[in-house]
């Protein structure tokens, strides 16, 4: 009994001693800290430039082996609406595909080309336009209302062996203030 009691006392004392050792040891302090602030500015500048694709370039149904262009430019040419600072000068460039790919998991493509007059500058849409070369950067300016309507047409050249199906490609317009 006394031996057990002695063990208990010793164990209790050992536990207490352990606590004391931990308590007496140097405590670890945080050695890194981080804080953040914001740099802020309010700019009274030009109207932000926006561009939106509003009409796909649609060739419709075409025959294998027969080159084709959009039937009606005002309704079938690709079209983008650009908005920004009135009368501001801008540069316009396109990323143009060289092939349209067969959709729906099929394998196949048809070539597409863009000529030097396949860029369309509508003013006003849809009654009048002038042309430009969409293969190179085009410089123009937004209208007095801050708007610009750009179009793109092209020619597809389906080979005689083209597979029946729908073909698609992506045309990307980039417009920047000068």
């Amino acid at each position: 009994m006394s031996r057990i009691g002695g063990f208990k006392r010793a164990a209790g004392a050992l536990a207490l001693a352990g606590c004391l050792v931990l308590w007496g040891a140097p405590a670890a302090a945080q050695t890194t800290a981080t804080a953040s602030i914001q740099a802020t500015a309010s700019v009274i500048g030009v109207t932000p430039l926006t561009a939106a694709g509003v009409n796909d370039l649609q060739f419709g149904a075409i025959l294998a082996g027969a080159p084709a262009t959009p039937p009606v430019l005002s309704s079938n040419a690709g079209r983008f609406n650009v908005a920004g600072e009135p009368s501001a000068a801008v540069s316009v460039s396109f990323a143009l595909p060289t092939n349209l790919a067969l959709t729906g998991g099929g394998v196949g493509s048809i070539p597409i080309t863009f000529g030097a007059s396949d860029g369309l500058l509508w003013d006003p849409f849809p009654t009048a336009y002038t042309t430009f070369d969409p293969n190179v950067t085009f410089l123009t300016s937004l209208g007095a209302g801050g708007n610009l309507t750009l179009g793109i047409t092209g020619t597809v050249n389906p080979p005689a062996t083209a597979t029946t199906g729908n073909y698609e490609g992506t045309i990307t317009l980039t417009v920047s203030y000068l």
Partner: protein
């Protein structure tokens, strides 16, 4: 360190003679003050016009960025700032930012806006003051271009402080 050894010796003594002296042990390890960093004030360029750069000096008490670092008094710390190269709007427009070698300053007193200049692009090793505080001030230059879009621009500046342990 001396207190640490004393505590261990007392513990050994208690194990051998469990009933003696427990209440007399006075653990008194010194706990170093926790290192903290706080954002006090943003770096504010205010209203800008296209094509006109705007600089904020580090001693501008209203517009310069301000951090407060707290830690063990008279201890050495290393401070690193993460500086953005531009501010942006929520729609992604960018406004260039520049930080030069004279755009940072530090002081152990918030009431001293001039402080000691430093290059905020490089790490700074400094000693916390007798109060255990250090204030880091930051200026910079915003560079709106000629066709800078209208909008509210912001960018995050982070300060990280490390205990050098000297």
């Amino acid at each position: 360190m001396r207190f640490g050894r004393a505590a261990v010796a007392a513990a050994v003594f208690i194990v051998v003679v469990p009933s003696v002296g427990v209440a007399q042990v006075t653990p008194a390890a010194r706990v170093p003050r926790t290192l903290t960093a706080m954002a006090i004030r943003d770096l504010r360029f205010g209203t800008l016009l296209p094509g006109i750069p705007m600089s904020v000096l580090y001693d501008d008490v209203h517009r310069a960025g301000l951090f407060e670092v707290r830690g063990e008094r008279s201890s050495s710390v290393r401070i690193e700032l993460t500086l953005p190269s531009s501010m942006t709007t929520s729609s992604g427009y960018e406004l260039s930012l520049f930080f030069g070698p004279g755009d940072g300053a530090y002081a152990d007193d918030r009431g001293r806006p001039h402080g000691i200049p430093f290059d905020p692009r490089a790490p700074l090793v400094a000693i916390l003051g007798a109060s255990g505080k250090l204030y880091v001030r930051l200026g910079g230059t915003a560079l709106p271009d000629r066709m800078q879009a209208t909008g509210e621009y912001s960018g995050t500046i982070s300060l990280t402080v490390y205990d050098v342990g000297i």
